[in-house]
Amino acid sequence: MNSPDPDFSRNVFINCPFDPEYFPLLRPLLFTVLFLNHNPRIASERFDSGEARINKICELIRCSRYSIHDISRIRSKKRGEYYRLNMPLELGIDIGCRLGNDGVLQSKTCLILEKEKYRYQKALSDLSSSDIKNHNNDPETIVFQVRNWFTELGLANAPSATRIWERFNEFMADFQEERERDGFKDRDLEFMPVPEYISFIRKWIAGNPSHIT
């Protein structure tokens, strides 16, 4: 089977919550993927009310060699709150895509992130022998985990995680300054669509090539 997408080897399917509560983790996660010259693919990258979401997700999974699944929201935090099932569902589709296909799709690789190291074993015991990484809901730690995962897969010459984290902080200053100059207010920034945020990171990285050290 031929590669399903010309950018297959650079595409990273991002399976995580896309709500404001998760943004403190999502921002550095997306920045790290882009900083390491990969291409995050998310379900909201194109909005078409007429398109079945599950079809779009399957397409994104199929065209991405890499996937990052954050299952840290599988546990509800208070009585009456639903736990989140989309992330485990999409993780299952991704694993199925790898195991149920031949050729290039068998090279698919994923990183599973959780808040705590062993908590997932109670909810997803089928993964108990899998190696997953925890971020403790800490934005800096997610940079470390994602960066180190890429280097474990063979990415050479990656800047240190500390360097990426510092550059992310510098990016955030420019991001805020430029958006506010364009009339964006707190609410606009807080609820900025993720594709727009990704586009800004791309532009910033292109304009700040000094990140390659």
Partner: protein
């Protein structure tokens, strides 16, 4: 809400106070390494003000977003 202003300092003169696992780092933009690490954030902010020599000091929250932007008094 974070206090903000339009920066007038050249980017390579801005000094950032950045969260680190083991404390708070003071880093001048453009330098490859942080200048100093502090255990307490307020001490780091003081250290950043000294290092900035009057240029902008940008104090970050733990998630990297901006808590406070202290604009250079020379350029305001």
């Amino acid at each position: 809400m974070a206090k903000r202003s339009t920066s007038a300092s050249p980017k390579n003169q801005r000094v950032h106070v950045i969260s680190r696992k083991d404390g708070w780092a003071v880093k001048k933009e453009g330098n490859t390494k942080a200048s100093k690490l502090f255990g307490q954030k307020e001490a780091a902010v003081e250290g950043a003000r000294k290092l900035s020599k009057g240029h902008d000091v940008i104090v970050h929250k733990k998630d990297g977003s901006i808590q406070r932007w202290e604009r250079s008094p020379k350029e305001s």
